[in-house]
């Protein structure tokens, strides 16, 4: 009896937590099929009475919406989505490559200034963007990177890399050094040993780092808003344009939100098992 009660309590907790995590997204999905007037209903229409695809159509044919404010954003959405994907892939790639190099040095090598360097990486991560965004703008302008996606790749890599290095270093420590030694016994060069033995073993951590960096970059808002102008910016900036200080279009906003969630979710879903494995050692060994 007690056991059954326990089981029900368990399911209740699971259901409550799942509801909390999913209901907002489901609501966003429902809103995306509503007109502005229906979205303002009280009590809310949990199932749209007059479901419409007009919000989605607005993204396919931006002019059809006739929306005074949303129109420009709707037209910009495909481009900004592509931009977001490109930037996020670059950031993920750079995190994997640079993070592996630095992480390896912390996991396997002893060198002067080791701790200082790790602390500096972590402190760099603590600085709030608000404090440095104007000087950063000046630097990017000097480098001629302003309005280029490269500016986002660089700034977002610098934001995410500290955590990646930390995670990878922790994971690499759990890989028995014997494996590399064994490869070298077989007369493999060090770099071949790395490529053929070490990195494949580290695969889960590399995937975790890549996905983590992708997510952070995908969600970045302040930097793209400032560094890349309206028609060549990333998805969050465009989506935020549907809710401005002059107008909020619920339907378009929700639709854009739904579209923005799909690519990173697919990624997270595909790499799910690896992410969990990759985080494991990082979390356990610290």
């Amino acid at each position: 009896m007690a056991l059954r009660l326990q089981r029900w309590a368990l399911y209740f907790c699971l259901a409550a937590a799942t509801f909390y995590l999913l209901a907002p997204v489901v609501w966003m999905l429902l809103l995306s099929f509503m007109t502005q007037a229906e979205a303002l209903s009280t009590p809310p229409h949990w199932i749209p009475l007059h479901p419409t695809l007009s919000n989605y159509a607005a993204f396919v044919h931006p002019d059809s919406s006739g929306a005074q404010f949303g129109g420009a954003e709707a037209a910009a959405l495909p481009q900004s989505m592509l931009n977001s994907v490109i930037v996020a892939l670059w950031v993920a790639g750079l995190n994997v490559v640079l993070g592996t190099m630095a992480g390896y040095s912390f996991a396997r090598l002893d060198f002067r200034g080791r701790n200082l360097l790790m602390v500096s990486y972590l402190v760099a991560r603590m600085i709030p963007a608000v404090g440095i965004m104007i000087p950063l703008f000046v630097v990017l302008n000097k480098l001629g990177l302003l309005n280029h996606l490269a500016s986002l790749v660089l700034t977002e890599t610098s934001e995410t890399l500290p955590f990646s290095i930390w995670l990878l270093a922790a994971y690499f420590r759990t890989i028995p050094p014997d494996l590399e030694h064994a490869a070298r016994v077989d007369r493999c060069s060090w770099s071949r040993a790395m490529l053929k033995v070490f990195l494949p073993i580290a695969r889960p951590a590399l995937a975790a780092v890549a996905v983590f960096a992708f997510m952070e970059s995908w969600g970045a808002f302040l930097y793209p808003l400032l560094f890349t102008p309206g028609d060549n910016t990333t998805l969050p900036v465009t989506v935020a344009g549907f809710a401005t200080n002059v107008q909020i279009d619920y339907g378009l906003l929700a639709t854009a939100g739904v579209l923005a969630v799909i690519p990173p979710f697919i990624l997270a879903f595909l790499f799910q098992r690896w992410i969990v494995q990759g985080m494991a050692s990082g979390a356990v060994t610290g």
């Binding site: 007109t35 502005q36 007037a37 303002l40 209903s41 009280t42 005074q68 404010f69 129109g71 420009a72 592509l82 931009n83 994907v85 490109i86 892939l89 670059w90 993920a92 790639g93 994997v96 965004m133 104007i134 000087p135 703008f137 000046v138 302008n141 000097k142 302003l146 309005n147 280029h148 996606l149 490269a150 790749v153 053929k196 033995v197 990195l199 494949p200 073993i201 695969r203 889960p204 590399l206 995937a207 890549a210 808003l225 400032l226 102008p229 309206g230 060549n232 900036v237 935020a240 344009g241 401005t244 200080n245 002059v246 107008q247 909020i248 098992r273 690896w274 494995q277 494991a280």
Partner: protein, 437 residues
């Protein structure tokens, strides 16, 4: 953690994922190609604006370029909330545009920071501005100079829901704030709406507050930006006392504390407000069946006052096109903003989006009147516009900081955490303290 074993699949997967990354590497340079380089002899003008109907401004720029083949203006738009950040960044980086948009409350900042230049003495400047509505004209001035051409100028309006008022059997416009309480109670009693009065007062909506103070002919600052409240001019204190009483009587929607102009508008559109202060141009959306649950129900009264004698004033607010102080093409930029801010462009903007034009002649323009009739009563609208003034204090360098503080004190009073007098005294002290720095 048993997945370590199969090295073969691992490598294949790794290759697959790296192919993705490399593939995107090829895309990056292609997308970076930025539109630079232009025909010889043309002057390129960079305009910086906030996002509000970009199609309209791009269209104007195109029209202008066709009429003036030697000049090629191009706009960049930034989201309104982050506009100031973008401007600061551009000027700090030495990347200043030639032409910038400015809200009336930006003009003092931009002028003090050395971002924009006065247009006094530029070719035909006085003629361009002679037909402006009073508050539109003063909105362009700072420190005795004039800083731009009018983008639009609109007023804060007191709006109401016609159906709700009718259901409660009310036919008279409320003259005083006490009338508002009375009518709201009637609406409440009739079971139409539980909290009929909405007064947006989050940290960003001081326009509503100032409009209400002006409604009774009051002011919070004198011409020298010295605070005259709470005692020398008691309007603010009396109004806040009324507001607190309205909250206690249950007619003020408590959600007002967290509403801004946009969210306030949405409250009206959701049919959750019988009376509200709102930007006048929002009436267009409030009466639009694709945006509003209560289309056609939004009407306008004159701003209520504390006493029967009026004067039912309100505040006007405006925006301007300015010439950058850092431009290398002052003459061309001036000519361009003259075009952007002329009366024809003002009319076009109004017909598209509903922001009132800044020119007196357009108030009786047949096209303008025909459009106005679609979503409001032109007679009341024009009457309220004639009673619109620019609020004092806006020129003060500390105004932006103070108004956030003031909104917070007002909220505290409405929440019952401070008395109206304490709240306003704190606010006045803050103004005095800030002006000394």
């Amino acid at each position: 953690m048993s997945a370590f074993g199969d090295v073969g699949t691992t490598r294949r997967n790794l290759l697959k994922s790296s192919a993705l990354v490399i593939g995107s590497a090829a895309l990056l340079p292609a997308l970076q190609s930025c539109g630079s380089g232009s025909g010889s002899g043309t002057v390129k003008l960079a305009g910086q604006g906030w996002v509000y109907d970009p199609t309209f401004h791009n269209g104007l720029a195109k029209q202008y370029a066709q009429k003036n083949p030697g000049v090629d203006p191009e706009f960049t738009f930034e989201q309104g909330e982050k506009y100031l950040e973008k401007i600061i960044a551009l000027y700090t980086a030495g990347n200043a545009p030639d032409v910038v948009f400015a809200h009336d409350n930006d003009i003092a900042n931009f002028a003090d920071s050395g971002y924009i230049q006065p247009i006094n003495g530029m070719d035909g400047w006085e003629d361009s501005l002679k037909d402006l509505i009073a508050f539109d004209r003063t909105g362009l001035d700072y420190k005795g100079k004039t800083w731009g051409m009018p983008y639009y100028g609109d007023v804060m309006a007191f709006i109401y829901n016609k159906d709700m008022v009718k259901k409660a059997g009310i036919s008279e416009a409320p003259q005083t704030w006490a009338d508002v309480t009375e009518q709201a109670l009637a609406i409440k009693k009739a079971g139409v709406l539980d909290t009929p009065f909405v007064f947006p007062m989050d940290n960003t909506s001081s326009r509503h507050w100032f409009a209400a103070i002006h409604g009774s002919g009051g002011n919070m600052f004198d011409e020298q930006n010295k605070p005259v409240f709470p005692d020398q001019d008691t309007t603010a204190l009396q109004f806040l006392t009324w507001l607190v009483s309205a909250a206690k009587a249950g007619v003020l929607d408590p959600a007002s504390l967290g509403l801004g102009t946009t969210t306030g508008m949405q409250t009206f559109q959701a049919g959750k407000a019988a009376f509200m202060t709102d930007a006048h141009y929002d009436m267009k959306a409030n009466n639009d069946p694709t945006k509003s649950k209560v289309p056609g129900a939004c009407g306008q009264y004159l701003m209520p006052s504390l006493t029967d004698s009026g004067p039912h004033k309100t505040i006007g607010f405006s925006a301007a096109y300015c010439v950058s102080a850092k431009t290398k093409h002052t003459k061309e930029s001036w000519d361009f903003i003259r075009y952007l801010g002329n009366s024809d462009a003002n009319r076009q903007l109004f017909l598209r989006d509903g922001q009132a034009p800044a020119y007196t002649a357009l108030q009786n323009d047949p096209q303008v009147l025909a459009e106005l009739q679609k979503w409001c009563d032109p007679e009341i609208a024009n009457k309220q516009t004639q009673l619109a003034y620019r609020q004092n204090g806006m020129d003060a360098p500390w105004f932006a900081q103070w108004q956030v503080f003031n909104q917070q004190q007002v909220q505290q009073a409405v929440l019952g955490k401070m008395s109206p007098r304490q709240a306003l005294q704190a606010s006045a002290d803050k103004a005095t303290e800030l002006s000394k720095q």
